[in-house]
Symmetry: C2
Subunit: 381 residues, 2 copies
């Protein structure tokens, strides 16, 4: 039997600079019996050149050959799905919960879709494959740089001949992977950091990184499944918004990271809260998406300044903006998943495996992942 | 005798967001018998609103009244010199050595020009007035944020489930105020930092901030007057460039800070050195100006990417990009100078004072500052 051919596509989403595999993981995949094809130019925007891939043992090919010859197509986002054919496997962050109908169409076309965002994130042996975490980590770091870029004061306390500059007061809302890295990075830069999350078990982690944990009296725990927060009731959300507003007004920089998979992100910073902030304050909304964001008036990919002089950065896709580190981490996640799926140089799809039950969305003509199937009105297949 | 009126102009240079006085220094100036006028909107771009100035005791006035009524016009750069009249005093960073002819014209028009960049910087009692240092400090901090913004990898060493990210290797060329702050900020962010300066006495300061000091074997000391490096001979410069090139190629991020007052900045990074850098490397050229920069091919205010994938940011005026902190520090420098010049609520110009001998460029119809007068062919007046 010939080796499985995995092909890395050049990303097709506008502005996407990441690449699914980096040269440093090629050798390990080859050692497991995989032949790696790279679409020419796939890594260029992340500073991985065709020559680097070739030197690492990959075969750099034009687009037609890649889509034509690969058994498995690897992407960060979705590859060009029009060009994928029956029998091929597609692996990436496919967003099945956002577009279940698209998944159903892939199933009908005989395409096996594997999505890293379906990974059971609380499973220890899956941690090395957790692309959502690795990308959130990059984005959390970058969010602080973006905030510091727009903030017109120093982050650290500085004492010079021209006087003392007091440290920036940074508030991080949402203490997941991104929030924790944002706390750590803001602390590195010398800011005084506070943090809030509706999940009380995040308190100790935030404190261990040097942040003050904000407790709200108006709302109890809202820990949900899979490590995410559950959606709040409208009453809970209103109480949370009102009590947070006072904290927000006392901070110079606010970074919001609250996302609920497949749902509209919760609005944590209302227009009223924005109005109470000092001119020159900066918000970075990492929840920003086409579905809405964590900050009233934020727009994905845009920076807006309110009449009151508050800058809001719609920053829902920061990982791509630090494409080299983001790709390197993603490639390790992808390689770990591939090595998990490959047995004796053959790709083995096994829905009874706990990891595969999460990531394999479509197979054998059916939508097999329970969460996606549920959105379509029951398991199909 | 009525109080001296000092008037803060709205800056006229394109893109300049700083303001010469901030609300927090108004009370102290009023206490010394100065009446402070603010041109309406002068502080807005640095997030100091007209209302803030009014609340601090300043009089916010339209442009015509400001230029008409002020005895002393305060700016960061030059005010609108066409509107300044005989008998008025102008204080700012006027760049007399760059445009001595302009200074001569101001003298002939009976304008007293006081320039903070003439300050004797090695004089301890002048340190609180040292605007070049305070602005270089801001710019040095900002240079690292600009580098981190363009760099597609993490600065710190990070160990996660998706592998280890090695720290960025940052090289700072020129260890003055800006270079030292760049070293400190890059270290804060977790980078491994090396630094080089042609003045050997900078070594200990760089090391105390955690940087490795690079010694070149091809060139000895080039310490010059006033704390600046002297200009190198063409042979020395070529030897320096060649030896530096090897170091530059081993770094991911290079920040250059070398300026010689009134002269073309030295080229520290040649086209050849650029060609040896890895794709994805970033240079921030703080020496960048209309006269040229420290990096071959850098353009002031622009970001260019070489064919080899190296990003060069022409960043000669970074202080304005962090306008709040920069203005706050500048305002303290300006206030200290004003309080030095004011005796019994009157402005006393005294060229025998060591500080005034440096900063007073024109007075009584003549160019009186020796360095500027020398460029004009001898003391005029």
């Amino acid at each position: 039997m010939s080796a499985i051919r995995v092909g890395v596509v050049k990303e097709v989403a506008p502005g996407e600079r990441r690449v699914a595999l980096t040269p440093d993981v090629i050798a390990k995949l080859a050692g497991a019996g995989l032949e790696v094809l790279i679409e020419s130019g796939a890594g260029t925007a992340a500073w991985f050149l065709d020559d680097d891939y070739a030197a690492a043992g990959a075969r750099v090919v034009p687009s037609e050959i890649l889509y034509g010859e690969a058994d498995v197509l690897l992407g960060v986002g979705r590859p060009d799905l029009e060009r994928v054919r029956s029998g091929q496997v597609v692996i990436g962050l496919l967003g099945p919960l956002l577009e279940p109908d698209l998944m159903a169409r892939l199933a009908r076309r005989g395409i096996t879709a594997v999505s890293l965002d379906g990974l059971p994130r609380t499973l220890t042996r899956a941690q090395g494959m957790d692309a959502l975490s690795s990308q959130a980590n990059v984005a959390g770091y970058k969010s602080v740089l973006v905030a510091a870029e727009h903030f017109d004061r120093f982050f650290p306390l500085l004492i010079t001949a021209a006087g003392t500059s007091k440290p920036a007061a940074v508030l991080v809302l949402g203490i997941g992977v991104a929030g924790l890295q944002a706390i750590g990075t803001a602390r590195r830069l010398g800011a005084v950091v506070s943090a809030y999350d509706v999940r009380p078990n995040t308190r100790d982690e935030a404190r261990s990184l040097g942040a003050k944990f904000i407790e709200l009296s108006s709302i109890g725990s809202a820990a949900g499944e899979g490590g995410y927060a559950r959606a709040l009731t409208p009453e809970e959300q209103a109480a949370q918004q009102a009590e947070l507003a006072g904290h927000i007004a006392r901070h110079d920089v606010v970074i919001t990271t609250a996302q609920v998979p497949g749902r509209r992100p919760p609005e944590l910073v209302t227009a009223e809260a924005l109005g109470a902030m000092k001119p020159g304050s900066v918000l970075v909304d990492m929840g920003s998406s086409a579905l809405g964001g964590n900050v009233a008036g934020s727009r994905p990919g845009e920076t807006v300044v309110t009449e009151g002089g508050v800058t809001i950065v719609g920053a829902g896709s920061l990982a791509s903006d630090m494409a080299t580190s983001a790709s390197a981490a993603y490639a390790r996640n992808m390689a770990a998943l591939l090595l998990h799926l490959v047995v004796d140089a053959a790709l083995v799809i096994d829905p009874t495996d706990e990891i595969q039950a999460g990531v394999v969305i479509t197979h054998g003509g059916a939508v097999v992942q329970p969460a996606t199937a549920a959105l379509l009105g029951g398991t199909q297949g």
